[in-house]
């Protein structure tokens, strides 16, 4: 976009020109990236020598997007130093952990990204729980997280729970001794440092000297610890811009902070709280209906549509489906709407809370929940060839590399990242090999009759290129699984593809179909109408996030029992809503 063409709204201008700390609440489609880009342009236009800006966000994807934009606009210098752009975790790592190490440990600290997945098994054959189920500070088991993993603490004897806690503590102690930290552990170390009355002010002074401003994007994704670091930065005298949409906080499982965020906002003075309520993404009916999906206490008026669809009158469509199971007819009905609106179905996802209901709505086989190796390989190959960006491609390459190491039996009880760190394995040394295999593993209908043929070819290829050693054969290590067929794709589907809510965060599509289930929609509506049950707030926010991805056409698939109730509710602020039974 031509910078001259950008005419900020008064709200946007107030954020762009604001000096000092500010808490910015942005609605969906508020042009956050544009505003941050313009703010950066202003800061860099008279940047004193040796100083910079720290841009922080919570996902690699968000960072990649912002970095790309800043580079395209030639705002971000290259190299970035002394500025910083990266995830919040990497900032914490680089400035609060890596230079100082771990207390009482001489080993060089290393960040092991997948440490949280390390299996905790107190004895052979025990049900494995990931390390992330145990609090890095107290060591206690997170009951909710454990329950999701099939370990209900209330049903287990105390000595067994204690055995898990002891095993997790032993793993953490061993890792700590070697300087190996996961994100959670690193955050714990950083917080310890901030409590150090001697070191913390020195670090603060150093950061104030280097950074002119810290911009924290997507702050709704932070957890209470992150928030603690953010307020420490602000209170240390660094101008901090916190940009967020508290209604889009969907990471409660990692200790999301919706309520704390509202409280934190209050600590900014009146003049330092800014809002962006102009929606440049969605059509008027979408704006009106998603306003209804905000929690009752902070519903507010609908955001003002300002974008290309601001005059579009397309109504909200509700697909009312019978029974309790999500039917495949949803996908078909959605595609019909999409074609009618002259939108490319490939750009129109079916968004569901889980992979299973998304797949059901699209008429695809139910995805295997077992993380089967052959399925993972097929998925990684597909992801590689249909990657949305370099980051996706990179994670597909890493995934294949990990599978190859597993097949060769190299990981032992180490996590993949831990194995790389321990053996000082550098990308340059294995990437060419993995890329070669990825090229050979591409699913090509002209070469492979079907998924089974691909599986056989893959086994042949890997047998030639891997060092398997003793133990099970390759066929045993890479067993056939019916889900492989669903994971393989030759060309991008010309139909609506299922996506999870977490996967579409921050994205936008001309049309979306949000798939709701009988089990959740009722209580979400209860919550939205009355504020109770309060524990459905997160589900309501997920519905809000999914629905607010829509630019022109928002379709919601709802069980028949709730469809009319939903329609009535969404009309609450004047949205046009049509219900169709399927």
């Amino acid at each position: 976009m031509n910078p001259q063409a950008f005419q900020p709204t008064p709200e946007q201008q107030a954020v762009i020109g604001h000096e000092g700390s500010a808490f910015v609440t942005a609605c969906p489609g508020a042009g956050k990236t544009r505003v941050m880009t313009e703010r950066a342009r202003r800061l860099f236009s008279d940047m004193p020598a040796g100083r910079g800006v720290a841009f922080l966000s919570f996902t690699q994807g968000a960072i990649f997007e912002l970095e790309t934009r800043l580079q395209e606009e030639r705002i971000l210098p290259s190299p970035v130093f002394p500025s910083f752009i990266g995830t919040f975790d990497s900032f914490v790592w680089q400035f609060l952990v890596a230079p100082f190490g771990v207390k009482d440990c001489d080993a060089r600290p290393r960040l092991i990204a997948d440490l949280a997945d390390l299996a905790v098994t107190p004895f052979r054959g025990a049900h494995p729980l990931p390390l992330s189920c145990f609090c890095p500070v107290t060591g206690n088991i997170f009951e909710q997280a454990a329950k999701v993993r099939g370990f209900d603490v209330s049903q287990k004897p105390a000595h067994l729970v204690q055995a898990y806690v002891t095993a997790a503590a032993a793993i953490r102690a061993r890792l700590r001794e070697r300087g190996q930290l996961g994100f959670d552990e690193a955050r714990g170390v950083a917080l310890e440092r901030l409590k150090d009355a001697g070191a913390a002010p020195r670090i603060a002074a150093a950061l104030v000297g280097r950074f002119r401003e810290v911009i924290v994007d997507e702050a709704q994704d932070c957890n209470p610890d992150d928030l603690h670091v953010i307020s420490w930065l602000r209170d240390s005298g660094l101008p901090v811009k916190v940009v967020c949409d508290p209604h889009q906080s969907i990471y409660e499982f990692r200790g999301g902070v919706t309520d704390q965020l509202f409280t934190f906002a209050e600590t900014f003075g009146e003049g330092n709280r800014k809002t962006l309520t102009g929606n440049f993404r969605s059509a008027p009916n979408v704006c009106k209906s998603i306003a209804q999906l905000r929690p009752p206490a902070s519903r507010m008026a609908p955001d003002e549509p300002l974008g290309p669809y601001k005059d579009d009158a397309t109504p909200i469509r509700i697909l009312s489906y019978p029974g309790t199971a999500v039917p495949a007819s949803i996908g078909a009905a959605f595609c019909a709407y999409v074609k009618e609106a002259d939108i490319d179905p490939a750009l129109s996802p079916l968004i569901a809370a889980t992979r299973a209901s998304g797949a059901a709505a699209a008429g695809q086989p139910r995805p295997s929940n077992r993380r089967d190796r052959a399925v993972r390989l097929a998925e990684a190959v597909t992801d590689f060839y249909f990657a949305a960006g370099f980051n996706d491609m990179k994670s597909a390459i890493d995934q294949v590399h990990q599978i190859l190491l597993e097949l060769e039996g190299r990981l032992g009880d180490l996590s993949y990242r831990q194995y790389l760190a321990d053996n000082e394995i550098e990308q340059a040394n294995w990437r060419p090999h993995v890329l070669f295999l990825l090229r050979a593993l591409r699913f090509d209908p002209s070469k492979h009759a079907d998924a089974k043929a691909w599986h056989a070819a893959a086994k042949d290829l890997l047998a030639q290129h891997l060092t398997l050693g003793d133990g099970p054969s390759l066929s045993q290590r890479l067993k056939w699984n019916d889900a492989v067929a669903a994971a393989l794709a030759a060309v991008p589907a010309a139909t609506a593809m299922p996506r999870t809510i977490h996967a579409v965060k921050g994205m936008e599509f001309p049309a979306v179909c949000v798939v709701t289930t009988a089990s959740t929609l009722k209580s979400i509506l209860d919550y939205l109408e009355t504020g109770e049950p309060a524990d459905k707030a997160e589900d309501a926010r997920k519905l809000y996030v999914a629905s607010s991805r829509a630019e022109k056409l928002l379709v919601i698939a709802a069980p028949k029992s709730q469809a009319d109730r939903l329609a009535t509710y969404l009309r609450g602020q004047g949205a046009a809503v049509e219900v169709k039974e399927i």
Binding site: P48, A49, G50, R51, P79, V80, F81, P82, Q94, F95, A98, P99, F100, G101, A107, R108, P109, G179, D196, G198, A199, R202, I203, A205, A206, L207, V208, G209, R210, F211
Partner: protein, 607 residues
């Protein structure tokens, strides 16, 4: 912030050494081939050139020759980081105070034949530094300017050309560079001399507005630097306009232009080290002092608080490698680091390879040897155990005499100029007459007349060990007994001094390095006593034609009386003049008899 320490492991002539640097100015002194250039190169490898154009890279030959290990490491420590520097260099900080940072470079050639990349690390965990942080520390290398073409082609040719362009008219810079490489009678040299003469105007009149036509009229900074330099040259009695007429005029000017152009950019870095190698190679003595004085003052100024306290510090640190006593004498001794080569104690690895150090500073070709390979060691004079008054005494002495006292090796300390003048003659024509090898060794020694009897500060400086190395290999001191100045039976003052000096040496584990020789009375008396009365009388009469009686009367006495009388005779005799005349005679006289203590001292010096 400044470079405070450099740790070298297995790098060129260094086995394992820690070198200390002073905040503003450090002068590396020492014999040729001692390792000074290697130190400079280590700093060039561990930091980025300010110009961005690296001219020196790690090579396999940088690994100390003859060692089993196939790697070397250079580690640089920087002290006194202010908070903004701590923020930018946080990945290199070494402790929780954040006030010290370190960068290291490890070059490991083990097991690989090609593509060996030096590994850069930083901080207490030796982890990779944050990208960009390391570039905040820069260096400017000012090589011995032996080749004008090279100077034009390196550094910042654009700016130097800009500086000269105005005076060279429309001529192609490449053509000029080409021509500069040719013989000295090329017309271009005359042209360039003229051009550069004009070029000096930029240094001299840079503040004036008419320079707006020069092409860098907007460069306030360069003009400021040029003006400062001009003032500094004037302080040292140098008129830049005159430089072109001296032998190295053009080279000198290029050199100065290079410095000015580089200084312009130091504000963008936290620290820039100016590495000045052998300025004596081309700068005439006055100019050496002027240029270094100028750089040191810029270094001092660079420590002043900046307008923007968060900006890169822009600190400047000057490190000079020289074997010119002139330069080393010009700075306080605490700024000196003595670099020398020593035979290692036990590291008996045999090699016959080529020296890894320096480029062209070998006085002789290295010889094949089966002795353990010599290694370079450094002695920072600031860390020797000397009191401030002792230090000041040495500094004052060096400042005036420009003595090579601290250049180490074999040193002979005597009381006065007479001994210093006579001893070489006595050695050449008498004691070492038929021993050319011994005489060569003798010639390499430094003769230091301290014009007094307080040898202690000098002996301390020369004998105090730092990490088991000391400046002097041999120290011989000759002092007078002065028996005639004390009552009979009292110990001789000279003997007292010897006892004190021997104790000093013993305390420093240097008894085998020091020999102190004491006569009974004083030089002239001892020469007479040894049987050279006629010779001395002849010389005395040249200076005092009317005083034959006085001479005869004095020499006729005996014992303490004679010593006192002879001493009185010389009270009115300029000692230097007397020694010069006597030297003439000693050189040609077969009959001259060398007093025993002098013979022993000469033999001790060459042993």
């Amino acid at each position: 912030m400044h470079l405070s320490q450099l740790r070298l492991s297995n790098f060129r002539s260094f086995a394992e050494e820690l070198v200390f640097f002073e905040r503003r100015l450090t002068v590396l002194v020492g014999e040729n081939n001692g390792g000074k250039s290697n130190l400079i190169d280590a700093i060039r490898l561990i930091s980025s050139p300010l110009s961005g154009r690296r001219e020196l890279y790690c090579e396999q030959t940088d690994i100390r020759f003859g060692t089993i290990s196939r790697s070397f490491t250079i580690q640089a420590t920087f002290d006194e980081l202010a908070p903004p520097q701590q923020g930018r260099l946080i990945s290199a900080t070494t402790d929780d105070t954040l006030s010290t940072a370190c960068f290291g470079l490890t070059y490991d050639a083990a097991g690989k034949q090609s593509h060996i990349r030096p590994n850069l690390w930083a901080g207490r965990f030796k982890a990779p530094p944050e990208p960009g942080a390391h570039e905040m520390i820069r260096h400017v290398y000012l090589p011995p300017l032996r080749d004008a073409k090279h100077a034009l082609a390196s550094g910042n040719p654009t700016r130097i050309h800009a500086l000269l362009h105005h005076f060279l008219g429309d001529r192609d810079p490449n053509e000029i560079a080409r021509n500069l490489a040719r013989t000295s009678d090329d017309q271009i040299l005359t042209d360039v001399d003229l051009a550069v003469a004009g070029g000096l105007d930029i240094l001299t009149t840079g503040v004036r507005r008419q320079n707006a036509s020069l092409g860098f009229n907007t460069d306030e900074k360069l003009i400021d630097i040029a003006r400062d330099l001009r003032f500094k040259l004037a302080d040292h009695g140098i008129t830049p306009e005159d430089l072109q007429y001296s032998g190295h005029g053009f080279a000198n000017l290029l050199y100065i232009a290079t410095i000015a152009v580089e200084l312009e950019k130091t504000d963008n870095a936290e620290l820039t080290t100016f590495l000045v190698e052998e300025p004596e190679a081309h700068l005439h003595p006055q100019l050496q002092a002027a240029v270094l004085n100028f750089l040191e003052e810029r270094a001092e100024q660079s420590l002043n608080p900046k307008k923007d306290q968060n900006a890169p510090a822009g600190h400047l640190q000057v490190i000079v490698a020289t074997h010119s006593p002139n330069l080393s004498a010009w700075v306080p001794s605490k700024n000196l680091v003595f670099v020398r080569s020593v035979a290692p104690a036990s590291d008996a690895i045999d090699d016959t390879g080529q020296e890894g150090s320096g480029q062209s500073e070998y006085p002789e070709a290295p010889q094949a040897t089966t002795a353990p390979r010599a290694e370079s060691r450094c002695i920072p004079l600031s860390r020797l155990d000397l009191s401030d008054p002792e230090r000041r005494k040495i500094d004052r002495y060096l400042d005036v005499t420009k003595s090579a006292l601290l250049f180490g090796g074999r040193v002979l300390l005597v009381e006065g100029i007479a001994e210093a003048l006579l001893l070489p003659v006595i050695a050449k024509h008498h004691v070492l007459k038929d021993k050319p090898a011994a005489f060569r060794i003798f010639r390499s020694a430094v003769f230091v007349p301290i014009d007094g009897v307080d040898f202690t500060p000098y002996a301390k400086a020369l004998l105090s060990p730092f990490n088991n190395v000391r400046i002097a290999d041999r120290l011989v001191i000759i002092t007078d007994g002065d028996k005639h100045t004390v009552e009979a039976g009292k110990p001789l003052p000279g003997v007292n001094r010897k006892t004190a000096l021997d104790t000093l040496a013993a305390d420093r584990n240097a008894s085998d390095v020091l020999d102190v020789f004491v006569n009974t009375y004083s030089l002239e008396t001892e020469l007479v006593a040894a049987g050279n009365a006629a010779c001395l009388k002849a010389v005395y009469l040249i200076l005092h034609p009317q005083s034959e009686d006085k001479w005869d009367e004095a020499v006729a006495k005996s014992g303490d009386d004679r010593a006192q009388a002879i001493q009185d005779l010389f009270k009115t005799t300029p000692k230097g003049d007397f020694a010069q005349l006597l030297a003439e005679k000693v050189a040609v006289s077969q009959a001259f008899i060398v007093p025993d203590y002098i013979r022993q001292a000469i033999e001790a010096l060459v042993k």
